[in-house]
Symmetry: C2
Amino acid sequence: MLRTPTTSSARRTRDRILDAALELFNERGTAAVTTNHVAARAGISPGNLYYWFSDKDEIIRELYAGFAGAYEEMWSGDEADVMDVTPAELLRRLAAGAALSHRYAFLSRELLGLLHSDPVLAAEYAAVRERRTATFDALARRWRSAGVIRPLDDQGIADLIQALWVIAETWLALGELSGTSVESADGERLLRVVLEPYLLPARSEVTSR
Amino acid sequence: MLRTPTTSSARRTRDRILDAALELFNERGTAAVTTNHVAARAGISPGNLYYWFSDKDEIIRELYAGFAGAYEEMWSGDEADVMDVTPAELLRRLAAGAALSHRYAFLSRELLGLLHSDPVLAAEYAAVRERRTATFDALARRWRSAGVIRPLDDQGIADLIQALWVIAETWLALGELSGTSVESADGERLLRVVLEPYLLPARSEVTSR
DNA sequence: CTCTAATTAGAGTGGATACTCTAATTAGAG
DNA sequence: CTCTAATTAGAGTATCCACTCTAATTAGAG
């Protein structure tokens, strides 16, 4: 349906639904949360919830869109600028993404399962992922030709990117299980231990542009 | 409850429940599968299912125990033998674990979420994980003192292990999303790209024991 | 102010679900 | 064969949930 609010109080209602859903999903997991729970926490009637969203899946998709959009912003901007990102900057951004993942904790835990049962969500995810890996891949190739990283064949580059991606996506949720508190620095160290051995000492300056 | 079957036909019943549940969980995800579905696929009555298991969570826990047990077997044996595992052998075993993960695909997708909502399961997982990382950690330290890998401080070793663990746990499920078929060799390559840079050329022979 | 469309409440419905209970059946010991 | 305990079937229950419908209320244009 994707109804669009016209008044500002309506926007507040729609947003309150999303906020309430996010809170509850993070606390109890999507499976244990019903639309009635969400409506109650949002302080509205169940009927009103269905006025704004056609079902629970749509709420989940909307939350995912919020997450993906925020993530996307980190990588938006001049294509050229993006391509000037240094390895250190990449690690910083990937680790920063973890802060986002923390806000949408339920996605870190459940995304794979959700994708398995919601083809619509799966399609959205696939699109995002494809764009992202393409960017990273291009970036890594650029590093290679600039002599920033050790020479690697294309397969090696793809694997390296994939390894970093997997870690960036999962370290937070997996780390939380260890009981000890998890900080952004931990994620960055984890990523660095993978990437660092491939970095070459700077020769002079990377030829910019 | 953990009822133990006495007759062999009873064992078959209990196992059929587990098999049916595993199939259905892998196909549709745990949330979409009811105890009635499981009983139907197993070809028994709902009442009979509740004779053997107290609820759905217990079935899930039992399946996880099966998975964890099979995994554990790969690393059982003489402590000394385990400590003689080479990096290449480690990669092989980690990748072999992926075959197991494939059989229990629903766990690859849902484990983090399940752990979040089932404290009992979470405790079991924590125990397994602790043992496992302790083993890997000891192994890596041994490699370090034997000159098999580059010298790393303890934090570095822990990070390296954690990175490998994260990838081993997740690459399969994440890879399946890319549409292209996923093979065990892919996982091994992914793990190798992380571990390889830390390997030193063999000096002579690792002093055994 | 008035009229229309947007928004909201809240009761209600059909269906499913987890789980229980009782009674029937079977297996195996002696 | 007989007796007991294990096993199984299947109907039944209380609950809950997703979602709908109608009617009330509000917001804003003119």
